[in-house]
């Protein structure tokens, strides 16, 4: 969702005064793989629009993932009704489930494991009821393979290209990731995930523009805005993009469900939180080029830093002014 008003629930990602790639996962307290945020209806409308107009980039699966997909459907349904009993209702009659989405006023009845009772594959079906992108990693030969996914809001990557890759292959374009041994360390961590112990982490990047659907397939359109950032427009044009990523081990298939809820904040909103603003400036200033370029900031880091400096100065001036009045 895009935060234009309330900042209270924004998943602010920064700690300390510098940033490096790391395995920053922590145990998940609320055992839910999905979360409904205030933009639910708008996000679902956009997601379903993208899925119907661009299925070739938004949904992919390999045939042998169907059993694991049913497991995802069950897990997401159960988490929705547990967390939001007013909005989602599930009636079970043996394997026949009736799932009601009161936010969208929809009702579906299907039999678990029976594809004929759904018009879509299970992952594609349940993904149309949650704001999260849903990725399914199958485990074999001591690695994890991306073999099914519903991805409408990617941070500049392509599900169609990455489908079938293992964890190391997916992350090979990240500078320094393999060289520092991070890929194997994080893979080992993921291989050790247990069904009863989900984890989560935050990932961030910056973007010029406020699109949720920053697919690699449309980069030639939205990427252009990176060249249009100036000190004057940086506050409105540049957005902090944060992904809440959750990891769940599925007990039957031993696959991993990876959910991504994307949140977008225009940079000028940081002015209301001076401590965030100052920390953000320090981190962007210190960021090594290899990370800055990979996160797509390289082209406009200078005008952004000029903007941040000006905002911080104006807050300081204001505080001085107030001090003099005392």
């Amino acid at each position: 969702m895009i935060y234009n008003k309330a900042l209270a629930n924004f998943p602010y990602p920064f700690k300390g005064d510098h940033y490096r790639y790391s395995n920053n996962s922590v145990p998940l307290e609320t055992e839910s793989c999905v979360e409904i945020s205030p933009n639910y209806r708008d996000d679902m409308h956009l997601k379903r629009h993208l899925l119907s107009h661009h299925p070739e980039r938004c949904y992919k699966s390999l045939a042998h993932t169907i059993d694991a997909q049913w497991e995802v459907l069950e897990l997401v349904c159960l988490h929705l009704v547990e967390q939001y009993p007013e909005n989602f209702v599930l009636n079970k009659a043996g394997d026949t489930w009736t799932f009601k989405n009161n936010l969208l006023n929809e009702e579906y009845t299907f039999r678990l494991g029976d594809l004929h009772t759904l018009t879509l594959e299970p992952l594609d079906f349940i993904g149309r009821h949650v704001q999260e992108d849903l990725l399914l990693m199958m485990q074999k030969d001591n690695n994890l393979f991306l073999e099914a996914g519903q991805l409408c809001f990617p941070a500049n990557w392509s599900l169609a290209f990455n489908l079938g890759m293992n964890f190391n292959q997916i992350h090979s374009p990240i500078p320094g990731f393999k060289e520092e041994g991070l890929d194997n360390r994080i893979l080992r961590f993921l291989l050790g995930l247990q069904p009863s112990s989900p984890w989560w982490r935050l990932n961030w990047s910056l973007m010029a523009g406020n699109r949720l659907d920053t697919s690699l397939e449309t980069f030639d359109q939205w990427g252009k805005d990176r060249k249009n950032v100036t000190k004057e427009n940086a506050g409105e044009l540049v957005h902090l993009r944060v992904e809440v990523q959750k990891l769940f081990r599925l007990p039957r298939s031993h696959a991993i469900l990876f959910t991504i809820h994307t949140h977008i904040l225009p940079i000028h909103r940081l002015v209301d939180k001076p401590d965030w603003l100052i920390q953000f400036q320090a981190i962007i200033q210190e960021l090594p080029d290899y990370i800055s370029n990979y996160k797509g900031i390289g082209l406009y880091r200078d005008p952004l830093l000029d903007y941040l400096e000006e905002q911080i100065k104006s807050i300081e001036d204001q505080q001085k002014g107030e001090g003099q009045h005392d």
């Binding site: 070739e56 980039r57 392509s158 169609a160 290209f161 990455n162 489908l163 079938g164 890759m165 292959q169 090979s172 374009p173 690699l216 397939e217 449309t218 980069f219 030639d220 990427g223 252009k224 990176r226 060249k227």
Partner: protein, 155 residues
């Protein structure tokens, strides 16, 4: 790259697989194995890997180190067979010879354009045959697509 190929010491057996093009590349290693009386076997293939090559790879015992040098097309087929049989990076070395024709996956339209790595090898850029977008050829490889990713060259 080719000059740096060395015989990994201390293996129980060395298996060399080549085609006409790869023979020259592996010759120093094959000679060395012969001179040092190391357990080794040389197999030369003509066009495509046959069923007997698969059997040969399958029957190797632990401790066999595989060197394969061949034209790219053949090498990729060998690599696939070896991987499917569980050969790891630590017990095999694959060397591509001659021009490599790469399949490039267009980031915009998913179309495939063929690219010969000896041409334009300085610029690493092509135009997508399907949507005409200018692409920068990357090293990011998809085994499922048998293709390398082409990124937007210019914004």
């Amino acid at each position: 790259m080719i000059e740096s190929i060395k015989l990994v010491p201390g293996k129980r057996k060395y298996l060399f697989i080549t085609d006409q093009l790869g023979k020259e590349v592996l010759k120093p290693l094959i000679d060395q194995a012969g001179e040092e009386a190391l357990n080794n076997e040389v197999i030369e293939i003509k066009n495509a890997p046959s069923e007997s090559i698969k059997e040969k790879l399958q029957e190797q015992k632990m401790g066999t180190f595989l060197y394969a040098a061949a034209s790219w097309n053949l090498l990729e087929q060998l690599q696939e067979i070896a991987q499917s049989l569980g050969y790891s990076e630590e017990e095999s070395h694959f060397i591509g010879c001659g021009a490599q024709v790469k399949r490039i996956f267009c980031c915009r339209c998913h179309g495939i354009t063929l690219y010969s790595s000896t041409q334009n090898s300085v610029e690493h850029c092509i135009t997508c045959d399907h949507c005409r977008l200018e692409l920068e050829v990357s090293e990011h490889y998809s085994p499922l697509q048998h293709a390398y990713l082409g990124y937007v060259l210019k914004l």
